[in-house]
């Protein structure tokens, strides 16, 4: 791994281990344009020609300040938000709306409160895998409850669970339908630091075990560096664009303790924070 010259953040060659091989392009977004109408004024342009590519089995983090357009970008990929220009393709198919090839994990879990843990996961499985037999679907639901270690809580309803447990249900629900692309919008943002760390590790384990392609939206630099292969830093002056793409040079599987002692991690962390500060000042200047 090379040491950092100036500029501090340079694309570094990523050395990939055997169980972490990147494939071809899975997500290709070209020339994305997005604006929100503003009452009695010029439209608020969020993106004006943004390009983004994510490869199969890649873990990409989208990092940026609040209001920089992270959620909008993710929701456009999910098909939940309309696109005003450009194209998004996932697995070679044009995105025109929500679809079961792209599952979303929500910051506030989005569990249906009248359904049990099992019922929430079953709702998604039944809908997506209607062509499978009932017992096959039962098995998939059971498997995924076990995957997030919620067997004992399977019959409980969301309000009986802690935040961390709720998000594990969200993760199980999303993975149970075996999407090509897993989209996460600040999934751990509402959790305490310890639960957060444990879930980061669990998500990484699932990432390794299932060769899942993941796009994670976060505003937490440590989280992005711990988990992602690549960090897309959004820069919002005027409209949002990709400020920089940071290749994260650490081998998988990652170990948070080892990383914390790693000098390169600290350097990269500091440089990323500086970059975010710079973008933040820029954004404040355009706003004010």
């Amino acid at each position: 791994m090379k040491t950092h010259p100036t500029p501090p953040i340079a694309p570094a060659p990523v050395s990939h281990d055997t169980f972490h091989q990147l494939g071809g392009d899975l997500l290709v977004a070209r020339e994305l344009v997005k604006s929100y109408p503003v009452k009695g004024g010029a439209a608020n342009t969020i993106f004006d020609g943004l390009d983004l590519t994510v490869r199969e089995n890649e873990f990409v983090a989208i990092l940026g300040h609040s209001g920089s357009g992270k959620s909008t970008l993710l929701r456009m990929i999910a098909g939940l938000e309309s696109i005003d220009g450009g194209t998004i393709e996932v697995g070679g198919r044009r995105v025109t709306g929500p679809g079961k090839d792209r599952m979303m994990i929500f910051q506030h879990y989005a569990l249906l409160p009248w359904l049990s843990v099992e019922g929430n996961i079953r709702l998604a499985v039944d809908e997506v895998m209607g062509d499978r037999t009932r017992s096959e679907r039962d098995e998939i639901v059971r498997e995924h409850i076990a995957m997030v270690h919620l067997e004992a809580a399977a019959d409980k309803r969301p309000h009986e669970l802690s935040g961390g447990m709720r998000q594990r249900v969200g993760i199980a629900r999303a993975l149970a339908v075996q999407p090509l692309l897993l989209l996460m919008d600040e999934p751990l943002g509402a959790l305490d630091p310890f639960t957060r760390a444990r879930l980061q590790d669990q998500i990484l384990d699932l990432y390794y075990a299932r060769h899942q392609t993941i796009v994670l939206v976060t505003h937490d630099v440590d989280e992005a560096l711990l988990m992602a292969d690549r960090i897309v830093v959004l820069r919002a002056n005027g409209s949002a664009s990709i400020g920089r793409i940071i290749e994260v040079p650490f081998d998988h599987p990652r170990d948070r303790k080892a990383l914390r002692e790693d000098g390169r991690f600290q350097e990269l962390r500091n440089a990323t924070l500086e970059l975010l500060e710079e973008y933040f000042d820029e954004m404040s200047a355009t706003d004010g």
Binding site: G97, P98, F106, A110, L112, P113, R157
Partner: protein
């Protein structure tokens, strides 16, 4: 039971097993006031004891039929209850879908919301002449007024509940490509159910209020006309009995719908 004043130290130091007796104290106070008014202030109304004695026959034979003008109060209550339940059921069958429509479609909202806002403050009894003109019969007219009564709270609450379904719930349904009709049945309906029940509960409560007034006007058989009829015979004792029975029946109705609500909606937070 809701406590008007939370237990202070003095109350807690007292015997807690006396707590269940407090409602009785409340009723006793009312009786005392009644007795006081009847005895000392005027001789126009019977006291509690006189009223009870005068009502012994009604209490002993609630379901007697001794001719068209002399029917037990139990029967009269059941007839009023029947009108309320039929009108309420018909009203709910119209109000819930209408509330869904208004909650789901901005177009329907612009079309119907002003209408609901204008009609909602109208006392349902004002519809009675219209109903009488159309049906020419007391019973269907009373049911029609209850039908109107049952519409507004249910329409409004249903619409609020349906429009307020969290966007994330629908996003979940959309990413798994759930068809629209199924989203309405499996996501919107359960999410709005607590609101729908709130509307139904308010509707039923008002319907029970309104039926007494309607029956006073239409005559016929029912607890409302009983009140009016006994007043015309200057039999206030029976009026007091009717007030008590109407109150207890209303309470039971509310408890019943509360039970159904609890069975059909998910537990609240916590």
């Amino acid at each position: 039971m809701s406590h008007i004043v939370p237990g202070r130290r003095g109350a807690r130091a007292g015997a807690p097993y006396l707590r269940p007796l407090l409602p009785l104290v409340g009723f006793a106070l009312l009786l005392a006031l009644w007795w006081f008014a009847a005895t000392f202030l005027t001789n126009l109304m019977p006291g509690p004891i006189t009223a009870l004695r005068a009502n012994l026959d009604y209490l002993a034979n609630p379901f007697h039929v001794r001719g068209p003008g002399d029917i037990g109060v139990g029967f009269l209550l059941l007839q009023s209850l029947q009108r309320v339940l039929i009108g309420f059921a018909l009203g709910s069958v119209v109000a819930i879908p209408l509330g869904f429509l208004i909650g789901l479609s901005p177009l329907a909202r612009s079309m119907f919301d002003p209408l609901v806002q204008v009609l909602k403050p109208v006392s349902p009894v004002a519809w009675l002449p219209v109903a009488l003109a159309v049906f020419n019969l007391a019973n269907p007219s009373a049911i029609f007024v209850i039908f109107i009564t049952s519409l507004w709270p249910t329409v409004i609450n249903t619409a609020v509940g349906v429009a307020g379904v969290p966007k994330d719930y629908l996003a979940v349904a959309r990413v798994v490509e759930m068809p629209r009709w199924k989203q309405i049945v499996r996501i919107v309906l359960p999410a709005a159910l607590p609101y729908i029940f709130t509307g139904l509960r308010i509707s039923l409560g008002i319907a029970w209020l309104v039926i007494v007034a309607v029956e006073m006007l239409t005559g016929g058989q029912g607890i409302g006309f009983f009140v009016w009829d006994e007043w015309n015979r200057l039999n206030l004792s029976a009026v007091f009995l009717a007030i008590l029975l109407i109150g207890l029946t209303g309470l039971l109705l509310d408890l019943a719908i509360g039970r159904i609500q609890a069975a059909f909606t998910w537990a609240p937070e916590g």
